[in-house]
Amino acid sequence: MLANGPSFRLLPRLDDDNTFFWTSGEDGVLRILRCNNCQFYIHPPGPICPQCLSRDVAPQSVSGRGRVETFTINYQEWIPGSEPYAIVWVSLDEQPSVRLTANLIDVEPDDIVIGMEVEVAFEHNDDVYLPVFRPTTDGGDR
């Protein structure tokens, strides 16, 4: 059976630092905070670049492509009514040190391998567009 997410989503509380991230998917594009001084991608977002300490930081559109660094299939019903779902850490192509925790969806759990190429999708829930990932559909030639 294809894995999706849990049956219910606990949602993030939006604030000045994180709203751009959690609402970015409204136009189908993933955005990560980036330092305009040294071009370092900063995640989770904060008011200053941890590399060069510049405060000139702004959301930057990214490809939404990345790789599965590790994963787990959750079976325990912490959230009642959930079928087994896949939790992944995805490293982003633009800067692999940035990892997003997410669900891998539209996938057979047995088909998940570390290193597989994935692309972002968004799950609209209330005022939040949760980034999730699915296996790349274009062969991932990059």
């Binding site: 509380r13 590790t70 787990t72 959750n74 939790i87 850490w89 990892r99 949760l130």
Partner: protein, 410 residues
């Protein structure tokens, strides 16, 4: 070789007394009562009276975490026991649960206190009732009317990564990928713990557990099975941290704090830490060995955090008992970590079978072994020697602390 030019200050501190309350799955007793029971036992064990105690410390302190997790606050314990204090401290941030012991050792070394009562109390067994283990944030759903998540939990909870079991499973799967870790290898942590718990009258689970039993148990979050997860319980552990000047007054061997490991050099994050196979244990372990002339081969017994079994094998490597990625082969078959093996591990059953006393059960057991008071489960090293050096580790993911303890003052 130590980069230090002078003796590490923690070496001025000893653990002069230890005590535990009753320990059980669900005792139905208050956390304050359990704390006092353990504290009075530790004070008596140190040959002290209540009036000698002038310092108080705990992990984590006020209002932290899910129900049954935090234990009573230091003001509650101070007031209940009528303590007059020169130094007091509680907090959930620092080098693992043992941060409370480390802080006490430094307070004693700095002359802020003479005898510090340090405690850790859990009533998670009672708090969770019979409904099974809960995730963080409860089991509620999304949408309107449900509390929203801020802070670091916002990055994992929306995806159903609601338990440390999920986060640590990620480390385990990465180890399967990088090092070829097998279920048969990982299972030895649970099997070893249960074997030792059979000789610990206070253990939560003492029925025999075979590797086949382990392999047949249900998967919680792959690759973690039920028996890879520790057992929530009720119980309190207390230790007295004193100045080493009083070591000669004790009617049992003093346990000296030889070195502590407190570093966090990578990012303080579950999913952003550079090395997904080790995390903060790598840094705590490295910083501990930088503070001592002892080496891993000197260690006679290791009490390594097993909130989840994967964390124990992370610690085996982080503390240098085997090379990076070699913990799987090291524990395979279980002989190396048995009580008569190369590195007797979690000799009271750890948290998997002894109960989730959250780091402090491991500290307690290290002292028991160094004092030669382990009874049936006492480790005897080649040549009939009682253990002289013990390593203790607490924590997982971005949370880690470690200590080297020695029998007697060096």
């Amino acid at each position: 070789m130590s980069p230090l030019h002078e003796e590490p200050l923690e070496r001025r501190a000893i653990i002069s007394g230890i005590g535990q309350s009753a320990i059980g799955r669900r005792l139905g007793r208050s956390e304050l009562e359990l704390t006092i029971e353990a504290s009075l036992a530790a004070i008596a064990d140190a040959g002290l009276t209540r009036d000698d105690i002038d310092g108080l410390s705990t992990y984590p302190g006020m209002g932290t975490g899910t129900a049954g997790f935090a234990g009573p606050t230091t003001p509650e314990v101070q007031d209940a026991m009528g303590l007059s204090l020169n130094w007091h401290d509680g907090g959930g941030e620092g080098a693992g649960q043992m941060r409370a012991v480390i802080a006490a050792s430094l307070a004693v070394a700095a002359g802020l206190a003479r005898h510090v009562l340090v405690y850790r109390t859990v009533t998670e067994g009672s708090a969770q009732g019979t409904g099974g283990r809960q995730g963080i944030g409860g089991s509620g759903g999304g949408g309107r009317g449900i509390p929203r998540m801020g802070g670091f939990l916002q990055w994992s909870l929306p995806y159903g990564a609601v338990s440390a079991a999920n986060w640590i499973a990620m480390v385990g799967q990465r180890r399967v990928h990088e090092f070829g870790l097998t279920s048969e290898q990982l299972g030895q942590i649970a099997v070893n713990g249960r074997r030792n718990a059979a000789l610990n009258p206070n253990a939560i689970y003492s029925d025999p557990l075979s590797l086949d039993d382990y392999l047949a148990s249900r998967v919680i979050s792959s690759p973690l099975r039920l028996f890879d997860c520790d057992a929530p319980c009720d119980g309190a552990t207390a230790v007295i941290v004193s100045h080493r000047d009083v070591a000669g007054d004790l009617d049992h061997p003093a346990v000296q704090i030889n070195a502590v490991g407190t570093a966090l050099r990578g990012r303080p994050s579950w999913d952003q830490f550079d090395d997904m196979t080790t995390m903060a244990a790598r840094d705590a372990g490295a910083s501990m060995w930088e503070r001592t002339e002892l080496v891993p081969a000197d260690v006679d017994t290791a009490q390594l955090y097993d909130g989840f079994s994967v964390l124990t094998i992370v610690w085996l490597e982080a503390l240098g008992f085997c090379g990076r990625g070699e913990s799987g082969p090291f524990i395979e078959g279980g002989a190396n970590i048995a009580r008569d093996g190369l590195l007797p591990l979690n000799t009271a059953g750890g948290q998997l079978s002894g109960g989730r006393l959250h780091g402090f059960g491991l500290i307690h057991e290290a002292c028991v072994q160094l004092r030669g008071e382990g009874g049936e489960r006492q480790v005897v090293r080649p040549g009939g020697r009682v253990p002289e050096v013990a390593a203790v580790a607490n924590g997982g993911g971005p949370i880690a602390g470690s200590m080297l303890l020695t029998r007697g003052v060096r």
